[in-house]
């Protein structure tokens, strides 16, 4: 609890503290005014989630739930306040906690301890949703994700700072040899220098390694990011910040299957429905789908390197056509998914190895990048 760190509060930190204090003050004012206190929280259910085509991401609607101190809410009410107090303390001390750690912090809260992590996660999501309404992300509340971010390589210098001294540290992502820069859990404080033209977000670790190993980013003048399946929050926030601050387009290189389209790509671009309250910070609206598309299977002669669509693939594809507001808002995606269903096959990004291990570097990517406008939205 150093004065220096308190003095060093960023504007965002001050905003966080003010938000938490204003809620606590409201609760206290209610009580002193002889009323039962309440806390207003955004409703996080899917009914209250909308897809804004203009903004390009899922967002929470206006529905609010009021947590008044009653029998059914007494426990959650106390837990919410205690977790906000914890958050405030962490901001003061410039510390953080993972979801799992929050669950364990509560163990000395006596009667209002969390019995399962699902409980603490839900309360945390509530507070987060409320903070998001004021432009604050979860990281501002100092609740950090458990999983680390993906890897980054290419024409990029990341400016971080020494957590102890605050001194700047520069990381040159073109100078990491066969390794890569690992995105930290919180990226808000990072700044960037780059002369890259675009960011290439890659689904699999294998493909990332291939492109990094052959220094694809050097010739293509880009930054490559390994998503490792569905991108983590840190990865999404990193790509978003980088893209925003450096005004870079984001191209996604993903498997040609419903999971790749609707889970990996869609999550990166517009976010997920069950975390709608934080999508505004995490999603990357300017992301475009480079491939692999169903048409690529035809164009690049990959038919004999495909697999038949499994029942779950078909179900997921049909569900996307009928229920996913993002897919439904884009005719190009509807057409692509219908084409895949009609072909009855899926293809992995590694299928290109059929034509030689470096076919992807020498032929596929250059050919695709030559026609950026043909990327799926």
């Amino acid at each position: 609890m150093k004065k220096s760190t308190e003095a060093a509060h960023s504007d965002l930190d001050n905003k966080t503290i003010m938000l938490i204090e204003s809620i606590a003050k409201q609760v206290r004012a209610n009580i002193d005014g002889g009323k039962l206190p309440d806390i207003k929280l955004p409703v996080r259910s899917l009914d209250n989630v909308t897809y804004d085509k203009a903004k390009g991401y899922f967002e929470l609607g206006d529905a609010r739930k009021v947590r008044t101190l009653t029998v059914t809410t007494a426990r959650a009410f106390a837990q919410t306040l205690r977790l906000m107090a914890t958050s405030r303390t962490m901001v003061d001390h410039n510390d953080f906690a993972t979801k799992r750690e929050v669950y364990y912090i509560s163990k000395n809260w006596g009667d209002c301890r969390f019995d399962e992590q699902a409980e603490s996660d839900a309360i945390m999501d509530d507070i987060e949703a409320m903070a998001s309404m004021h432009g604050l992300s979860r990281e501002q509340l100092r609740f950090y994700p458990e999983s680390h971010g993906g890897s980054v390589a290419g024409r990029l210098t990341v400016v971080d700072r020494n957590p102890a001294t605050g001194e700047p540290i520069e990381i040159d992502c073109a100078n990491l040899g066969s390794g890569a820069y690992s995105i930290p859990r919180s990226v808000e404080h990072l700044t960037f220098r780059t002369d890259a033209r675009f960011i290439l977000a890659i689904e699999t670790g294998g493909m990332f390694q291939r492109l990094n190993n052959h220094r694809f980013w050097e010739t293509a003048r880009c930054i490559i990011v390994e998503m490792g399946g569905v991108p983590t929050r840190a990865t999404r926030r990193f790509v978003r910040l980088l893209s925003d601050r450096q005004n870079l387009p984001v191209y996604c290189f993903v498997d040609c299957d419903p999971y790749g389209f609707t889970n990996i790509y869609r999550t990166l671009k517009v976010g997920s429905g069950n975390a709608a309250h934080i999508n505004r910070f995490l999603c990357v609206p300017r992301a475009r789908f480079l491939g692999v598309t169903p048409q690529d299977i035809v164009d690049f002669g990959l038919e004999d390197a495909t697999h038949k669509l499994a029942a779950t693939d078909i179900k997921r594809a049909q569900d996307a056509l009928q229920n996913d507001p993002f897919i439904m808002a884009h005719p190009e995606w509807i057409a692509a998914i219908k084409q895949m269903l009609q072909m009855g096959v899926r293809a992995e990004q590694q299928a290109l190895a059929k034509w030689g291990l470096n076919y992807v570097i020498d032929d596929y990517l250059p050919r695709k990048l030559a026609n950026v406008n043909s990327f799926l939205p």
């Binding site: 003050k25 039962l36 029998v71 303390t89 006596g110 009667d111």
Partner: protein, 563 residues
């Protein structure tokens, strides 16, 4: 070879049989059938003896308009018990003492329709007879009439063959009481505690007779006092004639032939209650339509034939007649019953109801029902004026002698007939049957099929009547006539409704209390959080918490249902 064994008695002739036949004296009959009078076991005999003596004392006091002061003393040694019951009643005329105590079926109560504890005039003499049989000692009686200088002392036994008193000793002596009677008897007995104890009998008597004061010295020398809560004697019941409804044909014929009236019209007016000239004329007119028309107002009662009596009997049932007079029966009264219950047992909830008078077989009767629910400390919740709640504190209870059942036991029945507690034969009693036949589940209680409900509860039922239909001469249970069952059930239902209301409210309080405690568990945490976030001082935190506590209880007081 003889087919008939010679050990067989030879067949008797009618003549021989006639020679063996002779009259059975009432005393001998009851000596052989002493269970009919309640003297079947030494334990029961002792309670019954006390009961008979106390009943007699109470009846005597009330009839003479004296507030009863009764002392009961029981000693018990190796199965030999001594009972002394002393009252401040009017005393007994010396010439009657021997007959009252030394002769079965002697008294004034049998022949009139009037509410009293005693009915047949057997009780105390039967106790004496039992003592005489088991120990061999006569009854010892001292009695003094107001104004007499001396009291009469007498030792009386029964000549059972003749059902006549046998006076052993008789003298006049000085007695410190101005008036009253003292009976002392010795018998084979066994003193016991519990539901069938003298103590429970006296306690129940005290409940039903709030004008009574008793001092009881038990065999261990401990003294128990039951104080009176009212100095008002119950009103004297008026003696009545039978009500025509429900009178049986045989009894009607008997009344006709015994009547001193010279016309049928007079007969109906004179011998029945609630029959005036107009009603009598209606009955006779209707009877004439049903018979051979020979019946008229002027018919002589003694000359009415069987067929005509049958028509008359039918006509009576079909004619509208006023309900029986009720001044002949004296209920305990709702206030007195409540007072009595409050005085003798602790409960969380009391309710009482008095049914209007009804009649069975022409005998008016009236039913009173009371319920006492919840042993103190049975986890009740109290609310103070500010809306704060707390659990009621548990109190020490005398488990074995408490008249309210434990919460997992069948309810206790306190059965009364003409203010006398009924301790035995619970299963065959109309009161028990009525309680079992009532659907207590409808009122929120647990009740196994065909059994008493399970609850921390005592159900008191009092049946008052000019003639209570006991199932036996020992007056331990009431015959379940449909009319009586119906009245008891209606009374039970009325009390049960009020109980259900109370239980509902009580349950709401409990739920509210549980909710409140649940919320209160989290209040300190809200305090800690507010303190952390707003950097409050301990005082600021505590005053906010205090305020929150008040807010919670105020909101509860507002939502609270009216009790």
């Amino acid at each position: 070879m003889h087919l008939v064994s010679d050990r067989h008695s030879p067949p008797a002739t009618a003549l021989e049989m006639a020679g063996r036949q002779r009259e059975i004296s009432v005393s001998e009959f009851f000596l052989k059938n002493r269970h009919l009078l309640g003297f079947d076991t030494p334990a029961k005999a002792l309670v019954t003896a006390v009961k008979e003596a106390v009943d007699n004392a109470l009846d005597a006091c009330e009839e003479a308009g004296i507030l009863p002061d009764i002392s009961v003393q029981v000693s018990d040694r190796y199965g030999k018990s001594r009972v002394i019951v002393e009252d401040n009643g009017p005393g007994i005329v010396e010439s009657q003492i021997a007959r009252i105590f030394g002769k079965l079926l002697y008294g004034s109560k049998f022949h009139k329709l009037s509410q009293s504890r005693g009915q047949q005039g057997m009780g105390i003499s039967a106790a004496g007879m039992y003592g005489q049989l088991t120990i061999g000692k006569p009854l010892h009686i001292i009695s003094r009439i107001k104004g007499d200088k001396l009291a009469s002392e007498m030792y009386v036994s029964i000549d059972t063959a003749k059902n006549q008193p046998d006076i052993h000793k008789k003298k006049r002596l000085k007695w410190d009481r101005p008036h009253g009677t003292r009976v002392e008897m010795e018998m084979e007995g066994h003193y016991q505690k519990g539901a069938h104890s003298i103590e429970v009998y006296l306690k129940q008597t005290a409940i039903a007779n709030p004008h009574l004061a008793i001092i009881y010295k038990d065999p261990h020398g401990e003294e128990l006092r039951f104080a009176r809560t009212t100095r008002k004697l119950p009103p004297r019941p008026v003696e009545i004639k039978p009500h025509p409804y429900g009178i049986e044909l045989g009894r009607l014929i008997q009344m006709l032939s015994n009547s001193k009236s010279r016309t049928l019209l007079r007969f109906l007016e004179d011998e029945f209650s609630r029959v005036g000239k107009k009603t009598a004329l209606n009955i006779i007119e209707l009877a004439r339509q049903h018979s051979d028309r020979k019946l008229s107002n002027r018919s002589h009662p003694k000359h009415i034939a069987h067929a005509q009596a049958t028509a008359l009997h039918k006509a009576i049932q079909k004619t509208r007649i006023l309900a029986p007079r009720t001044d002949c029966i004296v209920p305990i009264g709702e206030k007195q019953l409540l007072d009595g219950l409050h005085k003798e047992l602790e409960a969380d909830f009391f309710t009482v109801t008095t049914r209007p008078a009804a009649a069975y077989r022409g005998n008016p009767f009236q039913v009173e029902v009371a319920i006492a629910y919840g042993r103190p400390g049975g986890a009740g919740v109290e609310v103070d004026e500010s809306g704060h709640m707390r659990k009621k504190e548990a109190q020490e209870t005398r488990a074995s002698e408490h008249l309210i059942a434990q919460k997992d036991e069948p309810v206790r029945l306190l059965r009364f007939a003409n203010r006398v507690p009924l301790l035995y034969q619970q299963a065959s009693c109309a009161i028990t049957k009525a309680v079992i036949q009532t659907n207590w589940r409808g009122y929120g209680l647990h009740q196994p099929k065909g059994a008493l409900p399970i609850a921390p509860m005592a159900v008191l039922v009092h049946v008052a009547s000019v003639w209570v239909p006991y199932t036996s001469e020992s007056k331990e249970a009431i015959e379940p006539y449909p009319e009586i069952l119906r009245e008891i059930k209606l009374g039970l239902q009325e009390c049960a409704r009020k109980l259900a209301h109370y239980l509902h409210h009580e349950q709401q309080l409990h739920q509210e209390y549980d909710r409140r405690t649940y919320i209160e568990k989290y209040l300190p945490h809200i305090g800690v959080a507010l303190q952390d976030i707003l950097a409050l001082s301990n005082n600021e935190r505590d005053s906010t918490l205090k305020k929150l506590d008040d807010v919670l209880h105020e909101s509860r007081t507002m939502q609270r249902p009216e009790p």
